[in-house]
């Protein structure tokens, strides 16, 4: 279980997060939604430790992450897989080298074992025969898949995805959603996804947290969101709902 308690984050004179507390459902997909600039990326970065909160705490299975020693943070981070908005694949490495990298750094496996595991991971995300290609030779969707393969190769307990669908066409975006859903069901990872794609939210979210202007405005399940009694949330969802209604 991932839990954040009373998280504040300030950059110079701008308060980006204003006292967010939330519990993310273990082994399920938790989506944080909100407009661009609402603070969801900063929240995600704070949860994984790329930003330090001005105030508040983050817990991983009751282990306090914020304020803990670097060594302890590193231990927890080895249980984390993360898919970045742009994939963040290492461009000096091939797809296979990218996927093997976490195993190279933190396991004592033999080379053949590592390659086998990386290939299995790549196959799991639907990537075959691209092992020797460099990220620049892949399409956006393939890069996202390779990033997912790298994130799951070490069997993480927690998976974080920052806008996994951004920059993808609707069909590829749907496939990525499906892939994440399948993987989470298979590996039972506690997953937190940042998105403003409401299609994704309705397709895969088990729990939704709506962030607006740095505050948590609403949280609940996929079935509750349509009838949520929250004006800002309804405004945020309006374009999506009117599109759905027309179709």
């Amino acid at each position: 279980m991932v839990e954040v308690k009373d998280i504040f984050k300030r950059f110079d004179d701008k308060e980006v997060l204003k006292g967010i507390s939330a519990v993310f459902v273990p082994g399920k997909i938790n989506c944080t939604i909100g407009k661009s600039g609402s603070g969801k990326t900063v929240l995600l970065k704070t949860i994984v430790g790329l930003e330090n909160p001005t105030k508040g705490s983050v817990f991983y299975d009751d282990r306090e992450f914020t304020g803990s020693k670097t060594k302890f943070k590193k231990e927890i981070r080895r249980e984390i897989g993360m898919v970045f908005q742009g994939g963040a694949l290492f461009d000096s490495m091939t797809v296979l080298e990218n996927t093997i990298f976490p195993l190279d750094m933190f396991t004592e496996m033999k080379t053949e074992e590592k390659i086998e595991r990386a290939v299995v991971s790549l196959k799991r995300v639907g990537l075959e025969n691209v092992e020797q290609k460099y990220p620049s030779e892949l399409s956006g969707g393939m890069q996202k898949r390779a990033a997912i393969a790298r994130a799951i190769v070490n069997n993480p307990k927690y998976l974080f995805c920052d806008e996994p669908n951004s920059g993808l066409d609707p069909i590829t975006a749907g496939k990525i959603d499906e892939l994440i859903k399948d993987i989470v069901e298979e590996f039972k990872m506690t997953t937190i996804i940042n998105t403003h794609d409401m299609n994704s939210v309705f397709d895969i979210a088990d729990k939704i947290i709506f962030i607006h202007n740095g505050y948590k405005f609403w949280e609940g399940g996929r079935d509750e969101i349509i009838n949520a009694d929250n004006e800002e949330l309804q405004i945020f969802m309006k374009p999506f709902l009117s599109f759905k209604h027309k179709n």
Partner: protein, 251 residues
């Protein structure tokens, strides 16, 4: 004004904290070793060409200039070879080559790390639990410290060879007189002094450039600016340390 002074102190402290992270114990030796091999290629082998080209022409022109300007009959012609040798050993092959490499290696390091920062590759390393500063920068420092002295030696040899070619092909100075000058009053400590200089200059280029690239914020424009800053700051610090080291070691 006060803010600028505070910024200097802030960045100075940040640089040393960065260095501490760079030299902290690696998670695992093997991946670092692979990185070192890659850096040998990027920083060392890829710099040989430019060092050789610049050195041969500089050696040639130093010899020519000395030969043209030493026209007083009291001054022995052997001083042409002697001067060319010591200029290459003392200043050109250490300081000038370092300045040239700050442009090539320094900007390369800053732009590489800056691009990795803005494309979140450094964040990805951190999330995995890797000490990104150590993994990315320590191999570069090791490659620099190993390869810069080699480049220095190559530069001295090729520079003197450039001077010899001038003596051989033009009539500015006789080959045997030039060669006799090369053998005159050799002080071995000059080599030690230059090795110390090139190692310190290499460290300055590598760490200052890495520091500029590692903390880039923003987009590609900032990467370009960081790359420029890397070259400018490295050059200034090289020249400053050149004075300090010369004062400390040769006087």
């Amino acid at each position: 004004m006060i803010k600028k002074i505070l910024d200097i102190f802030y960045n100075f402290g940040k640089y040393f904290i960065f260095l501490k992270r760079v030299v902290s114990k690696p998670e695992k030796a093997k991946p670092y070793f692979s990185q070192i091999i890659k850096e040998f290629d990027k920083i060392g082998l890829n710099s040989i060409g430019i060092v050789l080209i610049v050195s041969i022409f500089m050696g040639a022109v130093i010899t020519l200039q000395t030969a043209i300007n030493f026209i007083n009959p009291i001054v022995p012609r052997t001083l042409i070879g002697y001067g060319a040798r010591d200029m290459m050993i003392l200043e050109f092959s250490s300081t000038m080559v370092s300045l040239i490499l700050s442009g090539k290696v320094g900007s390369n390091i800053a732009s590489e790390l800056g691009t990795m920062r803005i494309t979140q590759q450094i964040d990805a390393l951190e999330i995995m639990g890797v000490n990104s500063a150590g993994y990315l920068v320590l191999p570069k420092i090791i490659a620099t410290l190993v390869f810069f002295p080699i480049l220095y030696v190559l530069s001295v040899i090729i520079g003197i060879f450039g001077g010899w070619l001038v003596a051989y092909f033009f009539d500015a100075v006789n080959v045997s007189v030039f060669t006799a000058g090369l053998k005159m009053s050799f002080i071995p400590f000059y080599i030690t002094y230059s090795f110390i200089k090139i190692l310190i200059f290499g460290f300055i280029i590598c760490t200052l450039s890495a520091f500029q690239g590692y903390y880039v914020e923003g987009g590609s424009v900032e990467v370009g600016k960081a790359s420029t800053r890397a070259v400018v700051y490295s050059s200034i610090f090289i020249l400053m340390f050149n004075v300090i080291l010369t004062q400390l070691l040769l006087t």
